[in-house]
Amino acid sequence: MSSPMTSTASGVTRTAVEVRMEGLSRRYGSVVALDNLDLTVQPGELIALLGPSGCGKTTTLRLLAGLEDADRGRIDVAGRDITRLPASKRDMGMVFQAYSLFPHMTVKENVAFGLRLRKISPAKRDQRALEMLDLVELVAQAGRYPHQISGGQQQRVALARALAIEPQVLLLDEPLSALDAKVRAQLRDQIRRIQLEVGITTLFVTHDQEEALAIADRVGVMQAGRLEQLASPTEVYSRPATPFVAEFVGLSNRLAGTVIGSVVTVRGHDLPLVDTSIPAGAVTAIVRPEAVTMASDDSGEAGPMTGTVIASTFLGATSRVTVDLGDTTVMAQLPTSEAATLSAGSRVTLTIRPDPVLVSADSAVASEE
């Protein structure tokens, strides 16, 4: 199983493998955690599974790692069926959300543990452990115990430990959740850099959409044990496949509207529909804050799109402005230069850019499909 060594920074090259999951199902008592999931991860690809807690993303990972058994379905790695293989024989590196370094071993011993189990000679595993620590830039900490290093460093050691066994697949179960914001962004980028360098097929589970969009080749948005959409980060964000995805990824406004033919009328604006097969009737349209623009309105006339600015949040280059339209509030994302002229209390008229929008038949977005 050992691949040839090279002199690259990672010290290793490998042939990336394909992971194919077919019809995976898992229930806990009466709760369906995973409902007939089909997912194929291309060789060397990083897929981020994104979703609210309980959506089945962690279950997917645990089934793949062999830490739990699937009720139904099949998992193939590199064309080999591993569905019934115990976790210890699956050859997958895993990084956990909770700190998982062995407290009684030094950093180096932790990294070398998997190699020791594989009966690799002390000299070789020492060398390999140091290579891995070099990859995560922690060689200086090799002799320390886990409780002597920071949380971010512990997770980097965990990554080195997972990669040391030259696994076929890398599984990351919310590895950044326990860290503070700054370390999280740094480590996220470092994980991506290492993943590309090593070229390993990777599944990354997170509930943080920013993390998922930033790191992944493709993002899989999950809900209630099902995969709602699997696409590139840009596509998930700009062309969400379902109202749930639209709501979960990025901010959105939910506005009442009426479907007539292939358009939905929202407060006097006609917006094209993403899915033109929606029957005519009352719906809720999901409008991105970026699609809303506004202009000062001193006429004093009332209208469906005229309201009062109630808050403006500075986000850097852009600002988020919240407008009270009387019966509802709408969020808009504007360039800060524009937003600066609109103080709280000023009257404005809104315009919605005619981008295709998603609609849901009732307020319960989740039930729509």
Binding site: L67, A87, S88, F96, A98, G114, R161, I165
Partner: protein, 290 residues
């Protein structure tokens, strides 16, 4: 009393220069008062434990006339002819402590780890079973054990056979100590990490979980040894002779009332020294670990 000398000094301190520097002074005086409180509590409880023990030792050293001193109560322990002689009773008890500890740990540690990792649903039942001996009076236990020991004695009449009963008696204490240690490590995550690295269950247990609960294992060991050293009721009622029973018989064999107390003091001292050695050895063993 020595403990009370200190507060007087503190009061003098407060009245003097401390009055000049008000701000920090207030907090410092509070800390002092807390310290004083600690010492008083410590002194009271210390006296509560020490006075009876010292009185016992003093009585065992009482000569034939009140107020005189004599070692006769102590020499009588050593010169007791038996059967069995004191030394063999000590030997039996030490061996019992060893066997009981080993059997206990071999039985309970893997079971508890297994339940924690693989059979969570059983943990409540396990806890109940392990704590059960605590609720059963020794007399009742003996009534239940007697027929079983009748059977056992057909094959082996050694007092070492008491370890069956002692494992049961020590179970609640050992269980509590081990459960505390096991709960202090994130056994689930550690075992999953180890398994994903290729470790089998047996490796997970002995190379990942056990090394992280040495302290708890040592605590369980100490409690078990302490229990075996001090056990009298079960051994006596099942007519085995261990250290405690032996000392009891020594004190009965003489008219010197002091022997009863010298014997008690001797066992206490014996247990105390042994436990001290054990916990010191344990600390030495752990040095070098985090």
């Amino acid at each position: 009393m020595a403990a009370l000398d200190q507060p007087l000094d503190i009061a003098a301190d407060l009245a003097g220069p401390a009055a000049a520097r008000r701000p920090g002074g207030l907090r410092a005086s509070r800390r002092r008062r807390l310290n004083l409180f600690r010492w008083v509590v410590f002194a009271i409880f210390g006296l509560f434990f020490l006075v009876p023990l010292l009185s016992m030792v003093r009585f065992s050293l009482e000569g034939t006339t009140p107020g005189s001193w004599s070692f006769s109560a102590w020499t009588q322990i050593v010169s007791y002819p038996g059967p069995p002689p004191l030394l063999s009773a000590i030997e039996i008890t030490l061996e019992l402590a060893g066997i009981t500890s080993v059997v206990m740990l071999l039985l309970v540690v893997p079971t508890m780890i297994w339940i924690k990792l693989r059979a969570q649903w059983f943990s409540r039942i396990m806890e109940f079973l392990c704590l059960l001996p605590l609720t059963i009076p020794a007399i009742v236990l003996v009534v239940g054990l007697a027929p079983i020991y009748n059977r056992i004695e057909r094959y082996n009449t050694s007092a070492l056979m008491l370890f069956f009963a002692y494992v049961i008696l020590a179970l609640p204490y050992a269980y509590r100590a081990l459960a505390a240690g096991l709960n202090a490590v994130d056994a689930t995550t550690l075992s999953e990490a180890a398994r994903s690295l290729g470790a089998r269950w047996i490796t997970v247990m002995f190379r990942i979980i056990v090394p992280n609960m040495w302290q708890a294992i040592l605590n369980a060991l100490l409690l078990t040894v302490a229990l075996v050293l001090g056990e009298f009721t079960v051994a006596y009622l099942l007519t085995f002779v261990n250290l405690q029973v032996n000392l009891f018989e020594i004190s009965r064999s003489t008219t010197n009332a002091g022997v009863l107390f010298s014997a008690s003091a001797a066992t206490l001292l014996f247990a105390f020294i042994l436990l001290l050695i054990l916990s010191y050895a344990g600390r030495r063993l752990r040095r070098g670990r985090p």
